[in-house]
Symmetry: C2
């Protein structure tokens, strides 16, 4: 293979995508001594910069997804060590908070769904304390008087994904990861092996192994034999960043997830007075319009749960596209094409799964095989 325009020496690992999954893969690979390059260009609708940052492995959407829930719990349990290392190496705070999560049922139907979820959580060994409405309001006094009860998950956490991105970028650079601000158009394949990538700006970069971690853009990358990369579809999410008036105490002190007449909604507080209110889940293709209906649903359900949000400022409106695989589980590790890996399809769980994904990918890149705990999510399962 000739790569005439390559200004860089060949990498051991070239990661396509500079979101959370791409950067965590690069950082962990570099810590294993692999010479690593990341190619990416910030996109405002990339999931990483929009995500709320809940680290809640058990959610109302995950019935029938027990293996994913276990993987999530494993990743959540790695978070304290992960952020400690990351903040130490980068010097950048990640906004990690260990205040737990309160899951709230708005009406009787919601309560029965939540009860089933609580039983599932207990069965999986996740801490889940059933609370009366009064106990919920004792934890979060601004909850609507009408709520019917809830579950307290004291081990759930949250993190600020934008801070996490910044920390991962700095830590990666300090570990010698090379950052290339460009888009990848194609994987360069020769003699049945991935050998590098072609850039939109024209050049090529050579690498021993290529990781596609480009979120919803992953299937759009050319040059690959058919079927090597499963479809990854965008799942649109709209959310609002609300802000407390200066000097006022936060309206909620921990992540509050609600089921409001069957509709899920959450409030994630951050240091500094920001509250993330999210999020819609819409199968709308590449549509990234902020819509009247999406914002209305968020405000309606958020208001039912915590009426006092009415007084908060809407500081920012966000639309993001979550990358979802056909079975809604991540696609990790080697593909059928030698030299080509995937780290994609994390759907709603990219932030939660970042530490475990980084570890699993570094293992696969160093040894050629995913660790046991990640094998279920092998990229080859769908191809």
């Amino acid at each position: 293979m000739t790569v005439p325009d390559d200004p860089l020496p060949a990498s051991d690992v070239l990661v396509v995508g500079d979101g959370l999954i791409g950067l965590v893969t690069a950082w962990r690979a570099a810590r294993r001594g692999l010479l690593t390059t990341v190619v990416g260009r910030h996109c405002p609708c990339a999931a990483s910069g929009v995500a709320a940052g809940m680290l809640t492995p058990a959610t109302e959407a995950m019935f029938g997804e027990e293996p994913l829930m276990r993987f999530g719990a494993l990743s959540r349990d790695r978070y304290p060590g992960f952020v400690a290392e990351l903040e130490d190496e980068s010097g950048v705070p990640t906004g990690y908070r260990s205040a737990g999560t309160l899951q709230i049922a708005f009406d009787t139907d919601d309560l029965s769904k939540l009860t089933e979820l609580g039983e599932l959580q207990t069965r999986l060994g996740l801490k889940a304390e059933r609370l009366t409405a009064r106990e919920c309001r004792r934890l979060e006094p601004m909850l609507a008087p009408a709520v019917r009860g809830g579950i307290h998950a004291p081990d759930d956490r949250s993190v600020d994904p934008r801070a996490l991105l910044a920390a991962l970028r700095t830590a990666s650079e300090r570990r010698g990861v090379r950052m290339v601000d460009d888009r990848v158009t194609d994987v360069v394949v020769s003699a049945d092996r991935a050998r590098g990538v072609r850039l939109r700006s024209g050049g090529e970069l050579a690498a021993d192994q290529v990781v596609l971690a480009a979120g919803t853009r992953t299937p759009g990358i050319g040059g690959l034999p058919e079927g090597v990369v499963p479809p990854v579809r965008p799942v649109k999410g709209q959310l609002l960043r609300l802000r407390m008036p200066r000097g006022e105490p936060p309206i909620v002190t921990r992540t509050v997830r609600g089921l409001v007449k069957g509709s899920p909604v959450y409030l994630v507080p951050r240091a500094g007075g920001e509250i993330v209110l999210g999020a819609t889940q819409e199968e709308m293709g590449d549509d990234t319009r902020l819509t009247a209906g999406g914002v209305w649903e968020l405000l309606r359900d958020g208001h039912e749960l915590v009426p006092g949000i009415s007084e908060l400022e809407i500081a920012e409106t966000c639309v993001g596209l979550r990358p979802a695989s056909p079975d809604n589980e991540p696609l990790l590790g080697p593909t059928r094409l030698p030299g080509l890996h995937l780290a994609a399809g994390h759907h709603r769980h990219g932030v939660l799964l970042a530490p475990a994904t980084g570890d699993a990918m570094a293992e696969a890149l160093a040894t050629g095989e995913l660790p046991d705990y990640a094998r279920r999510f092998a990229a080859t399962r769908l191809s």
Copy 2:
């Protein structure tokens, strides 16, 4: 009086404020041959750039305000000639539309309020046709099936206030009005007469007559004897600019005002696919935060009236401050201080009242007296 730093010769008329009311006053004064200067600096929360542009003299808020309604009807009737002249002089289209207004009652209580309003409109000689729910939906098929009935006001109009501002600025400049991009700190008073203004940048501008048309900033202008300028308070309005998907027909074809469980809401369509959804009315002082509660109310009531708005993009969120006098009616013409006029306090009606205000102010500036039709609104009534 000495104005040593004045780079301009003294004006016949100096208008403080470059919003709709200031510019319409300047343009009409210039057309009377008065040498006119406008001093102002764009403020994003000024009412003119945020207003929806309904020209609907009879609204649910105006019971007990019959004289204002008559003034509004007079001004609306001047609109066709006004925009024809303005577009001719400026070459700038104003987005004037003559499609009429449909007033909709959501429930039975709303219908009885609307019925009273219809009777008032008829008594005042305004065209108002009572329609059944079916007739309303024949005019606007996207109305919610549940609406109870309405009133069609075929003579109501709408205009695009941002386009109107641009047209007034161009027309004024073509009439020789001088535009000064600055803020006025004080009126210069000597020998018991207004003689000009002092600028924030330092200089002074001399003028034979000064008009304060600075909206909610009007009472903050210094240098004046107490009581000459009545209080003008800000009334906060939040609204949304929605956008139809490209190529789709508009969701409403005329202004639709609704009463939804007692809460007023409106949708104003514009050429190009924009729909303005407004507006809150909040007595919050200078607060210009976009709030969760404000946006939620708009979307909730808008959705009750026209459920299909859910599909529309939120293209822009706006917060404006309407300038309201103590009796909520405009303050026009000469004050007790010779040489000082007011054109302020137009509250929700600045766009509607612009033509009549321009004419009345030009008359007062040329002759010293307001015309009969504007005399009720004399600035001296409250001082």
